[in-house]
Symmetry: C2
């Protein structure tokens, strides 16, 4: 209640961002579906492709309960895209890691996510730079 009424300009920007969010999600889900994956599965696979990690950490990155990761990794494992490896330093831990096929699928997934190019192609390089800087400022320093 400390904030003033939202002005029309801000409201429009928020609405535009909402549209971006909706389109981003649609495209992400479609790209995942092309590889018979759900959005959550594709996100986990993409995450593991950056670096194999304990199940616990996957849950932290996805901001969900650890118990959920069990099922998602189960299904990725059933597809042959991910495997569980023992952690030599702590036998309680299981490291989730993409298989070779999983890494390949993740790569194709990133490519088929043409949200990357199609809408941004409308903008010149200079405009994209401006957009980048504005988004950076908007998102702040939070490394999180």
């Amino acid at each position: 209640m400390a904030t003033p009424r939202t002005d029309p300009l801000t409201a429009e920007v928020v609405e535009l961002i909402g549209t971006v969010v909706a389109r981003y999600h649609t495209e992400y889900e479609q790209a995942a579906a092309k590889h018979s994956l759900t959005g959550a599965q594709a996100r986990v696979l993409g995450l593991l492709t950056l670096e194999p990690m304990p199940m616990r950490r996957v849950a932290q990155q996805l901001k969900c309960e650890p118990s959920n990761i069990t099922g998602i990794v189960d299904r990725l494992e059933a597809h042959g895209l991910v495997e569980r490896r023992p952690d030599p330093n702590d036998r309680r831990v299981k490291l989730a890691a993409p298989t070779e096929e999983g890494a390949e699928t993740a790569r194709k997934l990133r490519e088929s996510l043409d949200f990357a190019r199609e809408p941004l192609a409308e903008l010149s390089e200079e405009e994209r730079t401006v957009l980048r800087d504005l988004l950076r400022r908007m998102l702040g320093e939070r490394t999180s």
Copy 2:
């Protein structure tokens, strides 16, 4: 495959948009949860606040199957936020409309969605105008 490799600048903008999308979703779900609603329920309620409409049309707007809307409206109705009204012109149709309490909840929900202000407050009015124009261009003419 007609598109060239994604350049680093575009890649960064895409990643920034991904961050915006993630934060938008988190805040949206949290705002909905404050009112004991799920994201889907909050979206439907927000939609109906703009204009009461047949169940069928709700499904079209949310891009999901009509059968799903039955349950979502059931739960909103159980919360006393939405009601089903007969359509005088076609007795097959049920118009979903917010109750007074539903409209009030939707209003609070919009306010508590401080994604609207907090991050954008970092930008000056001129910068927000630039951002608006870039997003408009990026999203194209589609009025939808």
